[in-house]
């Protein structure tokens, strides 16, 4: 469709005019401006909702909201075309079969072997080995080898040595969705463990010997403690209500040596609404501080984030400080349980704060344990009530921790944002379907590519320059501050306002420090080489000079890269009062050209490359957004000049 306008939602700059393309996998807007032909690509999988707004004099507005929080507003000249686009997008954004998803057509030009290697990058058996299992307390069980016991669990589960197949099967019959207690994390220093399951089908009074034996087995696997915690991550009221439906929670009277604990985290519906409300706040045009803070509090979002974090902290403390094992569950044990177990693991074990370790963590607690990616993130068109930002919340917990402990993580914010992006993009096969069983049936590993391999290949973009494995923050357990600590939870504008460049610092400290780090390394290596030579050669004077001039060149280069970071930026709309004066047009040329230069990397006729490019490098967002510029607001009569009414005395 031609002559479509793309509005910039933040600044009131004139809309970009261009052509809209719909392909099998993307919506693409290409600007008419011949020098740049800036492209905005949106994957259909990313589309969360499409809104057709009332036709105005300028055309028919179409608002596309994405799961990665990008919001695109188009104005299509003809109502008929707008309707066609709308209907098409509705269909395209709601695939019915897996085969429609991008991952089945995405081609990164790797051969079969490379694809396989990519999938092998993260190996859970290796991970459990790293934890120290199997050992005298824990073993691997193949009781679920054909998914016969629990179809949402993996084929390989880790259970206490004293848990026989009989006990496991019996326990699974007493658990919602058959999700029996299984190992998530084992701490070899003190034998404490984190196990996870779903709720017991206890109703008001039902008991199950095998399930009780299962919990005993978990307790026995930790000789250092005579009890285990059982943590129900639901609010007490919800858990109690479940009893009426024949489910519920563990009665301390029936299970020997357990200490039961509720940690109220709200359910998926509350979370879905919470995010919705928060996004509404983000869409406010130039809100006051008041509107923003009230809106944010009203959404409850940060309160929920804190609740998840607090639960993780409780469990980490139980394991690290008390040396007590914990069994975690919620209702079905695939949402809140996953969040809380992975946060706790992250706090406990520095390995999960490395890039590889983080991938392993997600693979373990989310992918292998049957988190319902398809239902939660809408790979396919399904029940809207199943949609919920569960993993988003976990990812945000990680970001909040990164802000509190800037040296503790090997990866940076961009890593987290790209992972979130790809959970929704369906460009890779890792996050499809609802269980390992479904993924194997679809032969995902043979037909799609692994995100982990892709991220690993580009890991230089994802490193945190402040990370040092020998640093105090990276050793051992992380101890987030307890109360007062509300203020430590910040609004993550890098994620929820990701595409509004005007809101973010124009200069990336992370990128600059990475560049500095690399330069220093290069210099040090070079210095070593030269020092060797120095020792060997006789003409000391000559070599001295060579070393000096090389160092000067390098530092000049570095100086250049630092100052090129001082991009011109344009003022946002501070006031519309100035418009009544003949204002010279803001010199947007400067900052635009600076940004455009880097876009040359992104332009490519290969759709696959362009599609990738919006995640490849740090300049990803440039392809999606026009920079916010200062310009003239549509007329708005501001502060009345009281003197206008005064007649000349």
């Amino acid at each position: 469709v031609e002559n479509v306008r793309l509005l910039d939602r933040v600044s009131s700059r004139k809309a970009a005019l261009g052509t809209l393309y719909l392909t099998a996998t993307h919506v693409i807007f290409v600007e008419n401006v011949s020098e740049t032909r800036k492209e905005t690509w949106v994957l259909h999988s990313q589309i969360s909702s499409i809104e057709k707004q009332a036709t105005t004099a300028t055309g028919c507005p179409l608002l596309i909201r994405c799961k990665n929080f990008q919001v695109i507003q188009l104005i299509i000249p003809q109502e008929r075309d707008c309707h066609d686009v709308y209907i098409s997008l509705i269909r395209l954004a709601r695939p019915v079969k897996y085969e429609e998803l991008y991952c089945f057509s995405f081609n990164p030009k790797l051969d079969k072997e490379e694809r396989e290697q990519g999938w092998k990058l993260v190996d859970l058996n290796e991970e459990y080995n790293r934890m120290g299992i199997p050992n005298s307390y824990w073993q691997i069980s193949d009781v679920n080898r054909d998914y016969g016991v629990c179809d949402s669990y993996p084929t390989e589960v880790y259970v206490p040595k004293s848990a026989t197949a009989h006990i496991i099967v019996g326990s699974s019959k007493f658990r919602s969705r058959r999700r029996f207690p299984a190992l998530s994390y084992y701490c070899k220093d003190n034998n404490a463990s984190i196990c996870r399951s779903s709720q017991p089908l206890s109703g008001f009074s039902a008991r199950c010997l095998e399930d009780e034996q299962m919990l005993q087995a978990i307790r026995k696997a930790n000789p250092g403690s005579d009890f285990i915690y059982v943590v129900d991550t639901r609010p007490k009221l919800n858990a109690m209500a479940n009893r009426a439906a024949g489910k519920g929670y563990e009665n301390e009277d029936n299970y020997s040596n357990i200490k039961f604990q509720f940690i109220g985290i709200e359910n998926i519906h509350v979370m879905r609404n919470s995010l919705q409300k928060m996004l509404e706040v983000c869409e406010l045009k130039s809100p006051s501080m008041s509107d923003f803070l009230w809106g944010l509090e009203n959404s409850g979002w940060l309160k929920h984030i804190k609740a998840i974090m607090d639960a993780g902290i409780f469990i980490a403390k139980a394991v690290a400080e008390e040396g007590v094992s914990v069994l975690v569950h919620c209702s079905d044990g695939w949402d809140r349980t996953a969040q809380v177990c992975s946060v706790a693991s992250l706090l406990l074990d520095p390995y999960y704060r490395t890039m590889k370790g983080f991938m392993v963590l997600i693979e373990k607690d989310w992918v292998s344990f049957g988190h319902k990616f398809n239902h939660r993130y809408g790979n396919l068109d399904g029940d809207p009530k199943e949609i919920s930002p569960v993993i988003d919340q976990f990812i945000e917990c990680v970001w909040q921790l990164m802000e509190q402990f800037p040296c503790a993580f090997e990866f940076n914010e961009r890593f987290l944002i790209h992972i979130q992006h790809h959970i929704y993009s369906c460009q890779f096969g890792n996050f499809l379907c609802n269980s390992q069983k479904e993924r194997r049936e679809l032969k995902i590993q043979e037909r799609t590519y692994s995100l982990w391999a892709h991220l690993w290949k580009n890991r230089a973009d994802y490193l945190n320059p402040l990370y040092r494995s020998d640093h105090s923050q990276t050793q051992g357990t992380l101890h987030p501050q307890m109360a007062p600590c509300n203020f430590l939870y910040k609004f993550w504008s890098g994620m929820y306002n990701r595409f509004e460049k005007g809101l973010h610092p124009r200069q990336s400290v992370t990128d600059y420090l990475m560049a500095v780090k690399e330069e220093t390394q290069q210099l040090e290596e070079e210095l070593e080489v030269l020092e060797e030579r120095l020792a060997n050669l006789q003409k000391l004077q000559l070599n001295d000079n060579k070393v000096k001039s090389k160092q000067q060149d390098r530092s000049k280069q570095l100086g250049l890269s630092a100052s090129s970071n001082s991009l011109a930026n344009t003022p946002q709309e501070y006031s519309s009062d100035l418009k009544s004066f003949p204002s010279r047009s803001p010199s947007q040329g400067d900052e635009d050209s600076a940004l455009i230069l880097t876009q040359d990397n992104l332009k490519s006729s290969d759709p696959d490359l362009s599609a990738n490019s919006d995640q490849e490098s740090g300049v990803e967002d440039l392809s999606c957004r026009s920079p916010s510029g200062g310009g003239c607001l549509p007329s708005e009569d501001s502060g009345k000049d009281s003197d206008e009414a005064v007649c000349l005395a």
Binding site: E297, P406, F487, F491, P505, Q507
Partner: protein, 329 residues
């Protein structure tokens, strides 16, 4: 950029030929200028009843007046006190923290101050027009705006030395009444009438700029905290008294203040001290820095408000690591 106090037009709309001429000399034939009045139009009008007022359009035809009300005085001090109370309230749950923060209004004041300073800067840089800033007395919000605007506009004001010069010029010599304004701070029960944290608000705004432009200020948060401390209680004479006139005779035995005290700047600029205040990421940025004043971009200054409440260990370690990386190069 010019600053002054309010014109004394009074209820009878007095005119002053000399004042009109003075402002007239600033603008060329046909040029336009802006007046940014840091009071609301309402308040400015009311000021006439007590002898003050605004510049009538008829007498100052080349100047367009814009009102940008900024909080000052008692309400600003209350805002500060409430904020500190909220920060110290350990019983506050996450479900009420943000609304409590909002009710203090401090962040709204930061947003308003930054917006107004940006407006002044825009007049100068984008409109290439002169701008006159004043409130009522010209000692509080006026100085906040002009000083902040210069940090935004002028890279020289972002250097350590330049920033000190800015403080001398726009706050100390310009007559911000430090002695009255920075008396007891937020914990005192004595609610002094003249006390108001304008200077802290200025420092907070500068901190916001440093966060949004991490490479563009030669100094770091440490300097801002030190300045905050010294404005209230100091070993040095720099922030004493209310104006230059008082300083002429405030020294021992009626001498000049500088005869009896040491200068904070002299201490800060010693090589050993200076090192602590420099920003390792600093790289001269010759351009104007335009901050975002969206609520998401304005954050609570944790380093100040939570200074004694939360451990800064991890952030200090991060800063040290940054320093190490940059110096290692």
């Amino acid at each position: 950029m010019l600053r002054s106090s309010q014109p004394l037009t009074g209820p009878n709309r007095k005119r002053c030929h000399e004042d009109e001429m003075l402002l007239g000399t600033v603008l060329d034939e046909g040029e336009r200028g802006f007046i940014i009045d840091t009071r609301s139009a309402q308040a400015a009008k009311q000021a006439r009843m007590t002898g003050g007022g605004t510049e009538p359009k008829s007498s100052y035809p080349q100047w367009k007046r814009l009102h940008r009300p900024l909080e000052r005085g008692r309400p600003l001090q209350e805002s500060f006190i409430k904020l500190v109370e909220a920060c110290n309230d350990a019983s506050l749950g996450m479900d009420r923290w943000l609304s409590r923060l909002e009710s203090c209004r401090w962040l709204s004041h930061v947003k308003a101050a930054l917006s107004t300073a940006c407006l002044a800067a825009q007049c100068v840089d984008r409109e290439e027009a002169s701008v006159l800033v004043h409130g009522a007395e010209g000692m509080d919000t006026t100085l906040l705006v002009t000083a902040l605007a210069q940090v935004i506009l002028d890279p020289a004001c972002r250097t350590l030395v330049g920033f000190q010069g800015l403080l001398e010029r726009e706050w100390i010599e310009a007559g911000h009444p430090f002695h009255l304004r920075c008396a007891r701070s937020a914990y005192s029960h004595a609610r002094l009438k003249q006390e108001a944290p304008l200077f802290l608000l200025f420092l907070d705004c500068v901190w916001q700029l440093s966060r949004q432009f991490p490479f563009s200020l030669e100094f770091g948060e440490g300097l801002l905290l030190t300045l905050f401390d010294n404005a209230y209680a100091s070993d040095y004479g720099t922030f004493l008294c209310n104006n230059e006139k008082e300083r002429q005779v405030a020294g021992r035995w009626g001498q000049q203040l500088k005869e009896s005290t040491h200068s904070l700047w002299a201490w800060l600029n010693q090589p050993e001290e200076k090192k602590k205040y420099l920003n390792p990421l600093y790289s001269h940025n010759p351009l104007v820095i335009w901050p975002s004043v969206e609520p998401q971009s304005i954050q609570l200054w944790q380093g100040l408000f939570f200074r004694w409440i939360r451990s800064s260990q991890y952030l200090d370690e991060a800063r040290a690591e940054m320093q190490r990386l940059v110096e290692g190069n």
